[in-house]
């Protein structure tokens, strides 16, 4: 029994979906709607008391850290290996995932959620918002949601996140000038982890990510968007992510453009 409780095929939520499709492992997808705060509701907190998604439950064993869970998926199931054999390349795969988890993905999350989620809270009853905040178990997540709900993210923080994101785009573009995939000659979890967060950049950051400015990154994005498994995972969404992925494929000229 393999159950994945998660939101859209995007960022940390998407990592197990992309990974399991690449491995060809069947699983049950339980959609947790972040938009209605289902991840802070009692039903989900019974699965993951931290109220974070994704949660992956395999034969009664619950995993809530998406990067270690990807290594688990690669070890516990058949299908193609998603980790390089060479110890140095493995280190490289892991340090890219660590960089995504600690630096890049939180920066993009700050930028995107301030753009997309924060406006939804404008004009809402502050007491209701505080009641929603009180249901968030982890203090660091509560602090983040509080900034979003009350539009309190300091502009300097958002600028710093934009700087970090631009730096990451440059670094990945340069790395992809040396090897076809992020951790060497073969597709790996590093590609899954970065793609999960970067798949829509040709649209959402078209000024920074395009064929002139970042040719290597664009080549890699086309290669990822052409993979049937990643396309299948992107089709699993119930909201704007799936439609947007189809638009990105069309922009990139990749087959399988329809949502």
């Amino acid at each position: 029994m393999l159950d994945v409780y998660t939101w859209e095929p995007n960022a940390n939520s998407g990592k197990p979906l992309f990974c399991l499709h690449e491995k060809g492992v069947p699983f049950t997808y339980h959609y947790i709607d972040m938009g209605t705060h289902e991840h802070h509701a009692p039903e989900f907190l019974a699965i993951n008391p931290d109220g974070t998604i994704p949660a992956i439950v395999h034969d009664g064993f619950t995993m809530t850290e998406s990067t270690p869970a990807m290594e688990y998926i690669d070890e516990a199931f058949g299908g193609p290996s998603l980790r390089p054999e060479d110890p140095f390349r493995r280190w490289q795969m892991r340090i890219l995932l660590r960089y995504m988890d600690n630096v890049v993905a939180p920066s993009l999350a700050m930028i995107a959620s301030n753009r997309l989620a924060a406006p939804r809270f404008v004009g809402q009853d502050p007491d209701e918002l505080r009641a929603k905040l009180a249901r968030i178990p982890l203090p660091e997540r509560r602090a983040t949601w509080e900034k979003l709900m009350f539009q309190a993210t300091p502009p300097a923080e958002i600028e710093e996140s934009q700087r970090r994101l631009r730096q990451a785009i440059e670094r990945f573009n340069s790395l992809l000038g040396q090897t076809p995939w992020l951790a060497g000659e073969t597709f790996s979890l590093a590609d899954v982890g970065v793609f999960a967060t970067f798949h829509a950049l040709p649209l959402s950051m078209e000024g920074e990510v395009n064929d002139r400015a970042t040719a290597n990154l664009m080549r890699w994005l086309r290669a990822c968007h052409s993979r049937p498994a990643l396309q299948a995972a992107l089709r699993m969404g119930k909201g704007f992510i799936t439609q947007r992925a189809a638009e990105v494929r069309e922009r990139l000229g990749v087959a399988g453009a329809a949502a």
Partner: protein, 238 residues
């Protein structure tokens, strides 16, 4: 194989424990963090993060403690330290990540305050050699952390103690029935809690004693003291 390390660096201790557990011979290069040797241009040229430990092997320079531990495991699988099956390995990796996101950054802030950390004027020019985020963290330390940040960090460390106790319930070791890289990665940090006045639950106290008794840990005991130095950056967005 050459390990760049520093006494008083909990992260360095983890790598030295793993080397001893695996019986790997490595040359050691000791840096003095009190003199900010890790910020000198010749070191930054090798490691742009300006952090210890760093492992030099086969012409590559490897950073990030837990990922160095995994590299040693991949290179020398015997005796196995990452865990016997995918579940145990997941737990080891979960703790390897938690140390970096929740324990080490908040311990550094708490420790800086408890040990009355000071940045000398001679140290400041070296900050310019660092990456922006690291430079800013050191400048924050120079000014001292405010009461609100200290309260957040202390709470994070108390929570960490409770989480450790939860995984140790019915187990001798963090990932279950055997000593793994989870214990290697977490121990040197939590071993400092007592000296900083941070209480830990009894199960954690007993586990600390079990780890301390291992010859690999006893051998570096003199280097396990807390030092007022910065750790990783605390999370910025949840």
């Amino acid at each position: 194989m050459l390990l760049h390390y520093a006494p008083g660096s909990a992260h360095s201790a983890s790598v030295r424990i793993a080397l001893a557990e695996k019986g790997i011979e490595a040359e050691l290069h000791k840096l003095n963090l009190v003199n900010y040797e890790q910020h000198r241009p010749e070191y930054i040229a090798l490691n742009w993060h300006g952090t210890v430990p760093m492992l030099e092997d086969r012409g590559q320079y490897l950073m990030e403690t837990f990922l160095i531990l995994e590299y040693l495991e991949d290179l020398h699988p015997a005796p196995p330290l990452i865990g016997k099956d995918p579940r145990q390995r997941y737990i080891a990796r979960k703790w390897g990540k938690y140390v970096e996101t929740h324990i080490a950054p908040h311990l550094a802030i708490n420790r800086w305050a408890a040990l009355h950390g000071k940045v000398s004027d001679e140290a400041v020019p070296g900050f310019a050699n660092l990456l922006t985020a690291r430079c800013e963290l050191w400048l924050r330390a120079k000014h001292g952390f405010d009461r609100e940040q200290l309260a957040v960090s202390t709470q994070a460390l108390l929570t960490a103690g409770n989480r450790l106790a939860a995984d140790l319930a019915g187990n001798d070791w963090l990932a279950g029935d055997r000593f793994t890289l989870a214990d290697v990665a977490v121990y040197p940090h939590v071993a400092q809690f007592g000296a900083l006045g941070l209480p830990v639950p009894p199960a954690v106290e007993q586990w600390l004693a079990r780890v301390a008794a291992r010859p690999s840990v006893e051998a570096i005991g003199a280097d396990l003291f807390p030092l007022a130095v910065m750790g990783p950056e605390p999370g910025r967005w949840g």
